[in-house]
Every structure is written in structure tokens, then in C-alpha cells.
Amino acid sequence: MDIDTRGRPPGAAEADAGVTGLYQAHATGLVKLAVIMLGDRAAAEDVVQDAFFGLYRNWGRLCDPGKALAYVRGSVLNGCRAALRQRARHRRRERAAAVHGPDAESAESTVLLGEEHRAVLAAVRRLPGRQREALVLRFYLGVPEEETARAMGVSRGTVKSSTSRALRALGRMLEEES
């Protein structure tokens, strides 16, 4: 990707290179994370792009650019939380006027998944936020415990307990639905 550096502040080229490299290496994985959280690919891509823009703006404050992935992963989680909160507020406002399922999945995501997978993902998205994040990051994506804790803004102990609680709760929900 050619980058126009005319009229750019000092350090911008380094930020460009750093953020671009990180995006090329990790954006797809982060979109996958956000898709599981949100069930909507368009929203997931928006969240990930916003996170990288935030990284770009704050590049100079990252004293160790090698830890930028941890920063952007946390930003993606925050973006997903904000999107879910906005979605929940919207549902509460329109509860009397329209009928919505608990998860506003995009039509394209729904069509391409079988019944079993839709049911499981719907159950995942009904988990409390912290449990859902721990389940996706730690259990599914295999992000190391300390990095998961950093991304979620919690302790390592909370990551462990949230992950096990998530699996138990998921099992209970799936059993009750079968």
C-alpha cells in the first residue's frame, strides 16, 4: 500500500507502517472475534477498523509497539461492548413496537448457518458479557490467559472463572432447549 507522507507530522510514517503491518497480520482474526460477539459482519468490520484507527492515533503513546496487538484487541472488545449496549438500548425503546430476537444477527449470517450452529451462537450471545468474552478469547481463540485478562480489563483469576462459568451456563442453556 502506497502511503502519502507529504505534510505529515513526524512519526506518522512509523505509525503507518506499524499499524498497516499489524492490520495485515491480525485484522481477519479480530473480525472473527467481533463477528462471534455481534453476529453481524458489517458491524464487526466497523468495530475492528475503528480499533485500528484508535491505535493509529495513539501510536506515539505505545512505549512498546510490540504490545500493540494487546491494545487493539482490547479496543475491539470495547467496541463490541458499545455496539451491544447500543443494540440493547434500541431494543428496549422499541420493545412495544416491534418483535426482535435477543440477537440482531444480520440476515446473511443467519442464512449461511445451520439450525444447530444458530442455536449455539444465540446461546453464546445470551451469556453475560464477561463470560462471553472469556469464552471466545480464551476458550475458542486460545489467547493466552494474561493477554485475555489484559484485553478484558480483569484479573487472570476472573478469566479462569468466567471461562468455566460460561461453559457451564452454555451447557445448561443448550440442555434446556433440546
Binding site: I3, D16, T20, Y23, T28, V31, V35, I36, R41, A42, E45, D46, V47, V48, D50, F53, R57, N58, L62, C63, D64, A70, Y71, G74, S75, L77, N78, R81, A82, L84, R85, Q86, A88, S109, L113, E116, H117, R118, V120, L121, A122, V124, R126, P128, G129, R130, V136, Y140, R150, A151, T158, S161, L167, A169, L170, G171, R172, M173, E176, E177
Partner: protein
């Protein structure tokens, strides 16, 4: 691997299997902040950072080369020094915070800020000395005037605390906030440095958790080391994780928590008699409460030393078959959060300061400051969407306060 785990992996593989690439990321950025990025005609998403008020988030962090003393006060047009503090129910008016993010690997910041608990306004900015940055390792005395902050060299090792500074507030004076280096050698800290400092209520003694292996008490006036206790291992799980909590108001006892690093280990809240002889932190302190970590995710000890306050959360369980516990859509259990009170004399639950009604959104409570009698607590409620509500808890009541200017655990009262 159980069936649930297999099903979860298969479902997540199915949806993520559709993601083969991310769209290109165009750099440099388009026009400045305020113009949200739009795709496919979608409305701009409002970025909501629960721990930063928008004004503080947008404030430029300017590294000013000053060595000591000079601070930047409130914006032009306002009085240079705010009016003297008028405590509400003994709640401290001022807090010192470090404007950084828990997501930054190095959480050092080039300045500290002084905020008003009740108005949400920033009252002063305290730049770190040239070549230094402040870490969110902080402590506050009970006078609503004296704060200790740790600092690290700007280009130094991650988390290495090298100096300690005192920020002193003087309302009505020409310089509202002043900065002075403490004559106390700063120790290497563990990654839990946020809970590694505790200042006595009268501001004369500073307790420091050094390298996760020692608790040291220093004189604030002279820097002299008053006493040292060593963290000892009690078993095969290695050294317990220790966090300093607070001093009692009489200045004679130091409260701290300790937890062995093993699954399901309980959390012990302990009181240490600072002026008794002895150098073994556990042998020389008394357990005043033993509780599961989920039952006390955030803890404080009241100034009179009589009460342990615990921020806890738990699922709401109705009696009867499990199928009846379906208050949330889809079957997830709602959560309730509470601030519980325990007696340090008996270790028994004596009451509930405040309880959040069970809901599908509730996550928990976190405590930041408590009064001498434990009947007033500054802290915040969190929900499952990452939302934070900061406020004052009193018996049966939550009074919202303006959002903090910093991440809540990076502020000291």
C-alpha cells in the same frame, strides 16, 4: 472434550469460516475527530469509553519540561484556585488520577490530574518532571490534601518504579497543587502496582509493597524505613498474592488482602499491627475475614477497623427446579450485585450496605474509598456491556456522581 465444548467450537468455526479477509484499512486518516467513519450508509457509531469523560479523552497530553512545583491550573477565565473543600458526609472532594488506559502495555502517563468528585471538573494538571512519567501507583491520606504517586523513567523498564512523589493540594493558595519528590527509595513493583502503596490517614506513614515479597513502612517526613515484613510462602503454591488496602484511622493497623495462587483459594483480609515487633507478614497479622474471591471481588476496610466491605456479585437463584430460573431471555441467570459488610471481630456478615436488584445486565460493584464507619463508599457499578456508573453508596442508596476523568482504578481518594 465434552459435547458442549465441541458444539461451541463447531458453531464458532461455522460463523468465522465465512470471514476470509478484512476490508482494506485506508491510512492516513480522513478529516479530524468528530467525523465518524461511515460504511455502507450506516450511522456513525458513538465510541463510548466508560472510564474517560469525553473532555478528558480529548484533552491533549502535553509533555511540559518542568522539574518541580509549577502546575497548570484550571482553564483561563476561571479562578486560579478553587474554593476550600466542603466535604459531603465526610466524602473527599478531591481525587488524583493518572490519565492512562489499562490497555496500554506501559501505563505510565506524562501527567497526573486533580479532579472534583462532585462536579466532575478537572481542577489541575500536574506534569511529571522532565524525563519521567507517572504510574497509576497511588495512595491518598485522609486529609483530602495529600497524595503519593509513583514515577518511572520515561525510557525505563516496564513497571519499574524509581521515584515517589507527593502531590499536595492547597485550596486558595497561588499554587493549588504542588509536586515534591519524597526521600523514600522506590522499590521494584510487581505487575499489581496499583495496590502497592497505602498512605496513613494522617499522611505521616507510607506502606509500600516491594517486589511482591516485602511490606515496608516509611516515614513520609524523613524517608526513614520504620519497619519491614516479609511475605512468606505457606505451601506448595508459592508466595501468596498480596494487595495493600488501607490504614486504620488511628494509624496503628494496616489492612491488606492475601490469596494463594491456586484454584479456588480463598481471599484473606488481614490486619497488621504496625508497631508490634516481628517481621513475618502473615505470622504478625490477623485474619479478619476469609471469603471466596467471587464473594469479595473488591474489598476495603473501614477507617475504624471494625468493618470489611466487599463488592460482590452472584447469580439470582429462585428455589425450585432449574427450569424455573429463567428470568433472562434464553435462560441465562440474572445477576445481583451488593456491597456487603463483615465484622472484623467475628468475620460474620453484619449487613448489606447496598444491593442492586437482580437483572440480566448487572455485572458487579467496585469500591474505591470508604468512610471511617464504613457507611459511605465511593465506587462504581458495572454492567455486562462495559458500562460504568460512578457514585456514592450509603445505606440502601446509590447517588450517581459525574463520570471520573480517569479509569476508576487509576484514581485515589
Amino acid at each position: 472434550m465434552t459435547s458442549v465444548e465441541d458444539r461451541a467450537r463447531a458453531a464458532m468455526d461455522a460463523i468465522t469460516g465465512q470471514v476470509d479477509a478484512a476490508p482494506p484499512l485506508p491510512l492516513p486518516l480522513p478529516p479530524p475527530a468528530g467525523t465518524a467513519r461511515r460504511r455502507r450508509g450506516r450511522p456513525p457509531q458513538r465510541r463510548w469509553r466508560p472510564w474517560l469523560a469525553p473532555a478528558a479523552a480529548a484533552a491533549a497530553i502535553i509533555a511540559v519540561a518542568v522539574t518541580l512545583v509549577a502546575v497548570r491550573n484550571a482553564p483561563a477565565g476561571r479562578p486560579a484556585s478553587p474554593a476550600p473543600a466542603t466535604p459531603v458526609n465526610g466524602v473527599p472532594r478531591y481525587y488524583v488520577g493518572i490519565p492512562t488506559s489499562p490497555h496500554f502495555e506501559n501505563q505510565a502517563a506524562p501527567e497526573a490530574i486533580v479532579g472534583d468528585t462532585f462536579t466532575g471538573k478537572k481542577l489541575a494538571t500536574v506534569p511529571a518532571p522532565t524525563g519521567w512519567r507517572f504510574l497509576p501507583a497511588m495512595a491518598a491520606a485522609g486529609d483530602d490534601r495529600t497524595f503519593v504517586v509513583g514515577a518511572t523513567p520515561q525510557s525505563g523498564d516496564l513497571l519499574r518504579l524509581a521515584r515517589l512523589y507527593v502531590i499536595r493540594l492547597t485550596p486558595g493558595a497561588a499554587h493549588f497543587a504542588t509536586l515534591r519528590e519524597l526521600p523514600i527509595p522506590a522499590p521494584q513493583l510487581s505487575w499489581d502496582y496499583v495496590t502497592s502503596l497505602a498512605l496513613s490517614r494522617d499522611g505521616t506513614m507510607l506502606a509500600v509493597l516491594a517486589e511482591a515479597t516485602q511490606v515496608r513502612v516509611y516515614s513520609m517526613a524523613t524517608g526513614a524505613l520504620v519497619h519491614t515484613w516479609t511475605v512468606t510462602s505457606s505451601g506448595s503454591s508459592g508466595l501468596p498474592a498480596v494487595n495493600l488496602l488501607s490504614w486504620t484511622s488511628d494509624g496503628r493497623r494496616l489492612a491488606f488482602s492475601a490469596r494463594e495462587v491456586r484454584p479456588n483459594a480463598p481471599l484473606n483480609i488481614r490486619l497488621l499491627q504496625v508497631y508490634d515487633p516481628g517481621h513475618d507478614l502473615f505470622a504478625d497479622s490477623r485474619v479478619v475475614l476469609k471469603v471466596s474471591p467471587s464473594g469479595c471481588g473488591s474489598s476495603m476496610v473501614s477507617g475504624d477497623g471494625k468493618t470489611v466491605l466487599c463488592g460482590s456479585s452472584a447469580p439470582v437463584r429462585e428455589p425450585g427446579p432449574s427450569s424455573s430460573n429463567k428470568a433472562c431471555p434464553g435462560g441465562a441467570l440474572p445477576q445481583t450485585a451488593a456491597i456487603l459488610r463483615y465484622s472484623t471481630a467475628t468475620a460474620k456478615l453484619t449487613g448489606t450496605l447496598y444491593q442492586v436488584e437482580g437483572s440480566c445486565d448487572t455485572d458487579g460493584t467496585t469500591l474505591s474509598w470508604t468512610s471511617d464507619d464504613g457507611n459511605a463508599v465511593l465506587g462504581y457499578l458495572t454492567d455486562n456491556f462495559g458500562g460504568v456508573r460512578f457514585g456514592l453508596f450509603t445505606p440502601g442508596k446509590f447517588t450517581p456522581l459525574p463520570a471520573l476523568l480517569v479509569y476508576a482504578t487509576f484514581a485515589a481518594w
